[in-house]
């Protein structure tokens, strides 16, 4: 309760500080005070301009994420469960994981054009790599006793895989899926800044070209809100539907 009070005061204080700094101390064009940003936000959302950009970014993230996570889970299960595959893919996975995600944006645009395809492929690829890695790791590190126990109950083949291995690997899969959300948002903004005609990244860069810093702030705030929203949706789905698979650690889940 006391913490909540301090937090609320802190936010109000921060906004007040920002307001005074922007209005009286610095140039309001350079540091637009919160009231100006709020006005600009109302304007942009009133005309629907902001929502077009947010919808474009969200659409790309959702499609790319869905494709990438599906591919990542399937491949990760196969690679994690078959020792030969694991050896075979260990070096390539290490290589692709170490490639800088943003560095790939120009290459993807060069290969697949400035349209939707390059963005969706890039997001899907990055999500697939991180999900694949964590899924394979999750399956690899299942305690042997759990598999033996499953066998004792007469499970084998597909039954063993679905009833024992996948649930035991679920915490690893969920870790990968959560990291994937961050990568997807990061890279969609990069792709939109380099080659796009709509999207939050494009909108922010446009704000810089017109030196409209209030626009940049509106863009950044919607970007942060988007990240928080996607993360919360992820946590909600995880805790509602997949609660028993969440790995509890010293730090909480």
């Amino acid at each position: 309760m006391r913490t909540a009070a301090i937090r609320a005061t802190s936010l109000l204080l921060l906004l007040a500080l920002w307001e005074t700094a922007g209005r009286f101390w610095l140039d309001p064009l350079l540091l637009p005070p919160p009231s100006d940003v709020a006005t600009r936000f109302r304007e942009l959302s009133g005309t629907g301009e902001l929502w077009t950009h947010v919808a474009a970014s969200l659409g790309r993230v959702i499609v790319g994420y869905a494709v990438g996570s599906a591919i990542g889970i399937v491949l990760g299960c196969v690679i994690g469960a078959v020792p030969v595959m694991r050896d075979f893919f260990s070096l390539p996975i290490r290589f692709f994981r170490s490639v800088n995600p943003l560095a790939l944006v120009p290459l993807m645009i060069l290969w697949f054009g400035v349209g939707e395809l390059s963005k969706v492929i890039l997001i899907a690829y990055l999500v697939a790599i991180v999900v694949l890695y964590n899924t394979a790791l999750g399956i690899e590190t299942i305690p042997a006793d759990r598999v033996r126990a499953g066998r004792c109950f007469g499970l084998k083949g597909i039954g063993l895989f679905v009833r024992v291995i996948v649930p035991a690997a679920a915490p690893g899969i969920l870790t990968g899926l959560r990291l994937g959300v961050g990568f997807a948002v990061l890279v969609v903004i990069g792709a939109e800044m380099i080659g796009a005609s709509e999207g939050v990244g494009y909108f922010i860069l446009l704000g810089r070209q017109y030196v409209a810093i209030d626009d940049i702030f509106v863009g950044l705030l919607s970007l942060g809100a988007m990240g928080v929203l996607l993360n919360q949706v992820f946590l909600l789905v995880r805790d509602r539907l997949l609660r028993r698979y969440v790995r509890t650690t010293l730090y909480g889940s």
Binding site: F88, L91, N100, L110, G182, R208
Partner: protein, 254 residues
């Protein structure tokens, strides 16, 4: 779960590289456009070319300097902030929510703002790379300090330790695991911010070479630079870990 087979492991790993290269060559041949998907021999030739002309080392050094300077300032700032906020609890309650929100915005979003505020010079680049390190290390430090066993502190107090010596001999060692973990993480993240900064507004560094190659449609130069920045990132993190180990901090690392 499945016992690893040692025999043939190396063979399979070598095989995977061979297959990967063969696949690349096949794709290159199928697209029939050496400029768009350059075969491996073209990439190697380009690599030698860029080494000989010193283009690659020069830009790699620029990138490395940006990361190292920003990381040094960011990590120091993050630790100072983290320890200060641990000592003065209300300060952290005050900062936690705004910092968490800023952390959830991808660093590339801040590049246009930094350029608008501080121009396209080196300062804005350092700032964009460093701010995330400050936040990540501050969170790591606060978490580390929070984990310090209260019994240890009481025990040390009983033995007469207080103030700076308590901090130096009890708090810092106990919080080291959290701090070092966050340093390791933020060094890796610094390379993502680095590329963000260099592909949006820069005239040097490997990220700039990647963007420049896009405008000139030089796929071979672009791919060499992409791989180079990946290698630079891995090597830097490895060297950092090695340095920590040499400093005798291995017991605080996972």
């Amino acid at each position: 779960m499945f016992p690893p087979s040692v025999s043939g492991r190396v063979t399979r790993q070598i095989l995977s590289v061979v297959v990967l290269i063969a696949l690349w060559q096949l794709v290159s041949w199928l697209t029939g456009d050496r400029a768009l998907v350059p075969p491996v021999q073209d990439l190697l030739a380009k690599l030698l070319d860029m080494m000989a002309s010193l283009e690659l080392p020069t830009h790699a050094l620029d990138s490395l300097r940006r990361v190292l300077v920003a990381f040094a300032f960011g990590a120091s700032g993050g630790m100072i902030l983290g320890f200060a906020a641990s000592a003065v609890r209300p300060l952290w309650t005050f900062l936690e929510v705004p910092l968490d929100f800023i952390r959830s915005v991808p660093p590339i979003g801040f590049v246009p703002l930094a350029i608008a505020w501080f121009g396209i010079g080196e300062f804005s680049k350092y700032l964009v790379i460093a701010y995330l390190t400050v936040i990540v290390v501050a969170f790591g430090t606060v978490a580390g300090v929070r984990q310090v066993d209260q019994t240890r502190i009481r025990a040390a107090r009983c033995m007469g330790l207080s103030g700076w010596r308590l901090f130096r001999h009890i708090v810092i060692p106990s919080a080291s695991r959290g701090i070092i973990g966050s340093l390791h993480l933020s060094l890796g993240l610094s390379f993502i911010s680095l590329v963000a900064v260099e592909i949006i507004g820069s005239t040097s560094g490997l990220g700039f070479v990647i963007m420049d190659s896009r405008l000139l449609l030089q796929t071979d130069r672009m791919i060499v630079s992409i791989v180079a920045i990946g290698v630079l990132g891995i090597v830097t993190v490895l060297v950092f870990d090695l340095l920590l180990r040499l400093m005798g901090l291995a017991r605080f690392m996972r």
